[in-house]
């Protein structure tokens, strides 16, 4: 791979995550609206929202410190960095050797860490409540993520994502391995918890007492809010990309030619649409569970992940 190709792929990765994540959110919202018998917002509503936020002034609490202003930028940059490591349409990622899936997960944790701090920073009780809940869920989701990653790395014998996809893609038999399927189930639950979707968290709630992620960002406005929202969308996009490509690596380009790139992009779009459809469907038929029921859900996913590993050793 020459340097121009590497550079171009990296730039395209960034452009995809920046450009496509609002569309994904829009897709989920529209599908949900349809399922609820509504028309739903316009296709480009998230872009309009972002443009508007960026044009407004930011109101910052007198109590807040630099952490509050710093967090949105950090989160945004973290998501961009992760985007360089997550395969969308090609497994030929130029920076793959810089860090594997563990690095990705810890960068997600870094952004959560700072978001939780900024929730506490303003001194608002809502922010503190959101931070407390977010860290509770992050703390419980973390072991499942690691174990699910462990299962994948057992099957593919690597923690570098490109390698995982190349190996799984070259032998589809591995995909129907029980370990792989159980790890998939665990990863689905963790994805829902980490990205704040129903039934763990309701992204559209207006009631502060039921909030998790929203409660932490109640204080943000203007450009800060734009960055926080955009980062949250990118996080959803990245998690869904990981979920679909790690467990169903069909169509991900493994060579450097234009045709496979185009095919990869189309298949990637189809996969994400299916995932968005699943989320929209689930959010329509499920209600949010009590916060103290969430640990049961996550414990369940932990058990599934553990089972995945055990099944690998036993079978």
């Amino acid at each position: 791979m020459d340097y121009v190709a590497k550079f171009l792929i990296a730039v395209v990765q960034l452009l995809i995550v920046l450009g496509a994540s609002p569309v994904l959110v829009s897709l989920i919202r529209r599908l949900k609206a349809r399922l609820q018998g509504r028309l739903g917002p316009p296709w480009f509503q998230p872009y309009y929202d972002l443009a508007k936020y960026f044009q407004k002034e930011s109101v910052v609490s007198e109590t807040a410190s630099w952490i509050f202003n710093f967090t949105p930028y950090l989160q945004f940059v973290c998501m961009l960095l992760i985007a360089l490591f997550v395969p969308f349409y090609t497994a030929m990622l130029p920076l793959d050797a810089t860090g594997g899936i563990i690095v990705i997960m810890y960068f997600f944790l870094l952004s959560t860490f700072f978001l939780a701090l900024s929730g506490l920073d303003t001194g608002s009780a809502f922010g503190g409540m959101g931070s407390s809940r977010e860290m509770t869920i992050a703390a419980l989701a973390e072991p499942t993520i690691i174990l699910a990653v462990f299962s994948i790395s057992l099957v593919a014998n690597s923690t570098n994502i490109s390698t995982i996809i190349l190996r799984l893609g070259s032998d589809y038999g591995l995909l129907f391995n029980p370990t792989h399927l159980l790890a998939f189930a665990a990863f689905v639950i963790v994805t829902i918890a980490e990205t704040g979707r129903l039934p763990v968290d309701n992204p559209t709630t207006h009631l502060e007492l039921t909030m998790i992620h929203e409660a932490m960002i109640l204080e943000y406005s203007g450009r800060h809010l734009a960055l926080v929202e955009w980062s949250a969308w990118m996080k959803l996009f990245l998690f869904l990309s990981l979920l679909t490509n790690l467990f169903f690596p069909w169509g991900v380009a493994t060579s450097l030619d234009l045709l496979s790139f185009v095919a990869g992009l189309v298949i990637f779009a189809v996969k994400l649409t299916l995932a968005a459809g699943a989320i929209a469907f689930m959010e329509t038929i499920l209600a949010k569970v009590r916060i103290f029921r969430v640990p049961e859900l996550l414990a369940g996913s932990f058990a599934i992940a553990l089972l995945a590993i055990i099944s690998f050793y036993v079978l």
Partner: protein, 184 residues
């Protein structure tokens, strides 16, 4: 769960074949679409087609709230015009204030106004929010919303219908344009 899926399927059959502006809606209530369509035009120019609303109850009897809630139902579905109700004034561009301002709610209303980032508009919803309405003269109220914060628009009615609310938003955006051009 299966009941719900069945229901979704039934409703889905009703809505899915509709074009972006559903024929049934326009047949039943042509004004909604007209007004909404115009509103979308305005917001597109002024606020980038996105208007986030924070609703403030300054002492209302909840009649107006019920009508505002109706804006979000599948029938009116204000989201398709880029209107969205948010949980914090920090996220809002527009304050929808209802009810006469009671003495205890005057300061919270002012705080909410201060908490909202510029540029912003204030809409007083209902007769009570304009001048106290049926509560006018009571010792417990200060009066209309304009006694506390500058109001860009009054939407009369006790309570106003959702349709009137949507009509009102259009005029509010006209006011808003004048406001922002002055600032520039």
């Amino acid at each position: 769960m299966w009941d719900m899926i069945r229901k979704i399927r039934q409703v889905g059959i009703l809505t899915e074949p509709l074009p972006p502006f559903p024929a049934e809606y326009t047949q039943q209530d042509p004004q909604v679409e007209l007004v909404g369509g115009e509103l979308q035009q305005r917001t597109r120019i002024l606020l980038g087609r996105s208007l986030h609303i924070r609703q403030v109850d300054a002492g209302s009897d909840n009649a107006a709230e019920l009508e505002i809630i109706a804006l979000g139902n599948p029938y009116y579905d204000m989201e398709r015009f880029g209107l969205h109700i948010v949980a914090s004034p920090r996220h809002a561009d527009c304050l929808m204030v209802t009810g006469p301002v009671t003495r205890n709610m005057a300061l919270p209303l002012l705080r909410t106004y201060e908490a909202t980032p510029d540029p912003k508009i204030v809409v007083a919803v209902g007769d009570a929010a304009r001048d106290g309405g049926i509560f006018r003269g009571s010792y417990a109220i200060i009066g209309g919303v304009d006694q506390v914060v500058p109001v860009d628009l009054y939407i009369p009615g006790d309570p106003p219908t959702p349709l009137e609310l949507l009509t009102g938003m259009l005029i509010a955006l006209d006011r808003y344009r004048g406001k922002s051009s002055r600032r520039e």
